[in-house]
């Protein structure tokens, strides 16, 4: 049997891809913070990224780790579901209960997947407004964003989805490290804490922009 045909091999791929995606969303969140600097800074950052030909390689890489994470997770989840065909009548409530975040990872993932597709349609493949700074004409993503985040329902959905993403990371971050084989009685609690901190920072960062724009309108 090959490494990628085993549950542990697949879990490790899911974990590595998940950590890669975590790094991406951290950078994405930090980039978005330019909203607080100025519309020009935000648009120029977008222009800097998209005007470089290397963006296609980066996007292909991102798509690959995203698919690795999603496809192997689906395969593993189906195996996991089939491993318990008949359910218990009672769920553990006391000291032996399981955390909700760890139990519902796949459902959080499905909603996050829907959010990402919707998010790409709205922004990446959304309205192409233009703006000129000096000589350079570039996409006015800031304008699109202010229009989108003027809708309270969109802001609400965005905030809920981002909180769910943070919830997903609160288990996923430290779980990936364990799956890759790192566990230490002294360091693991610190890594768990780091996972929580990372999730909180990413969540708060992503929430701050739509709220800022909505409330400033």
């Amino acid at each position: 049997m090959s490494y990628l045909a085993t549950t542990i091999g697949r879990k490790q791929i899911v974990g590595i891809c998940g950590l890669g995606l975590s790094l991406f969303i951290l950078v994405h969140m930090l980039g978005n913070l330019l909203v607080f600097v100025s519309p020009q800074a935000y648009n120029e950052y977008g222009y800097l990224l998209t005007s470089n030909k290397l963006i296609y390689i980066a996007e292909a890489g991102l798509l690959a780790i995203f698919l690795g994470h999603v496809v192997y997770t689906i395969i593993l989840s189906l195996k996991n579901k089939s491993a318990r065909p008949s359910k218990y009548a009672v769920t553990a409530k006391g000291e032996k209960k399981t955390s909700m975040a760890s139990k519902t990872m796949i459902y959080q993932g499905i909603i996050i997947l829907i959010f990402i597709v919707h998010h790409l349609i709205t922004f990446k493949f959304g309205e192409e407004y233009e703006v000129q700074y000096g000589e350079v004409v570039m996409r006015d993503l800031y304008r699109l964003m202010t229009e989108v985040f003027a809708q309270p329902l969109y802001v609400a959905w965005y905030v809920v989805a981002v909180i769910l993403l943070g919830y997903h990371l609160s288990h996923g971050f430290s779980s990936s490290i364990k799956t890759l084989g790192f566990y230490h009685p002294k360091h693991t609690p610190k890594i768990d804490m780091l996972g929580w901190l990372f999730s909180a920072i990413v969540t708060l960062g992503f929430i701050s922009q739509p709220l800022f724009i909505y409330l400033n309108n």
Partner: protein, 257 residues
């Protein structure tokens, strides 16, 4: 016996009854009356069975053997918790004083595709035996038992190996896991032998083969929920699973070369 108390309690039991592997099975209600709080959970079931037999009914089948928490034979999921509500205890060591008069107690078998139900609360855990057969041993002829401490092993390593070796193979980890994963059991066996010098020669093959066998037995994958370790009567640490993940990755790397 000193310290015993004469309190008797009455319980409502909902017990899973299933005639055989292919029967659909269902819960049946029983009244457990005048149960001494000094009884173990299994003794309570013994008393129930005495009543069932004397009234001409089928007794409730359940697994048990040593009744002192070391053999790994007893099982049961009690109110959703494998081996009941207490940590670090097997069902045979769970006492009725843990319950209140009038409580409803739901008793189910360990549920997993890899642990098919034989009858009532008895499940077939031979999948664990096959995982052990895939590599949970050392193939050296050791002759007679050697003197204690004849092989120099650091106290820290001996302690870690012993903690992993404490696994009694009861299957509560599988029963507790939402994925019915056997990762805690398999990893305890892999790390126990990976710690000690006798286990080094086959370390890599062992990790690989035991994981492959575990996958073939219809257990699910680990998602690090920690439910296994919380339910484990021997409180085997999740660290073992990380060790297994690491040893397995190393073994896969070696096989490619």
């Amino acid at each position: 016996m000193g310290g015993s108390d004469n309190t008797k309690i009455n319980l409502k039991l909902k017990v899973w009854r299933q005639k055989g592997p292919n029967d659909a099975g269902m819960f049946q209600d029983y009244d457990a009356k005048d149960i001494s709080v000094n009884m173990s959970f299994l003794e309570m079931l013994d008393v129930m069975n005495e009543d069932l037999i004397s009234s001409g009914q089928e007794p409730i089948e359940f697994d048990h053997d040593c009744r002192e928490g070391i053999c790994g034979t007893c099982s049961l999921v009690i109110n959703g918790e494998p081996h009941g509500p207490d940590r670090g205890v097997t069902t045979c060591q769970l006492h009725m004083r843990r319950f209140q008069n009038g409580d409803t107690v739901v008793i189910e078998p360990f549920r997993a595709k890899a642990f098919p139900i034989v009858k009532d609360l008895v499940v077939d855990r031979s999948a664990f035996d096959r995982i052990i057969q895939a590599g949970g041993y050392i193939s050296t002829n050791t002759g007679n038992a050697v003197d204690a401490n004849a092989m120099p092993i650091g106290k820290d390593i001996a302690d870690e190996a012993f903690k992993s070796a404490a696994c009694i193979g009861c299957g509560a980890c599988v029963a507790a896991c939402k994925n019915a994963s056997a990762s805690l059991f398999t990893s305890a066996k892999i790390s126990h032998l990976a710690y000690v010098p006798q286990g080094q020669a086959e370390k890599s093959e062992r990790a690989f083969n035991m994981v492959v066998q575990m996958d073939e037995e219809a257990f699910g994958a680990c998602t690090n929920t920690g439910a296994c370790s919380a339910a484990c009567p021997k409180e085997i640490s999740l660290e073992n699973i990380a060790i297994m993940n690491r040893e397995f990755a190393k073994a896969s790397g070696k096989r490619r070369k």
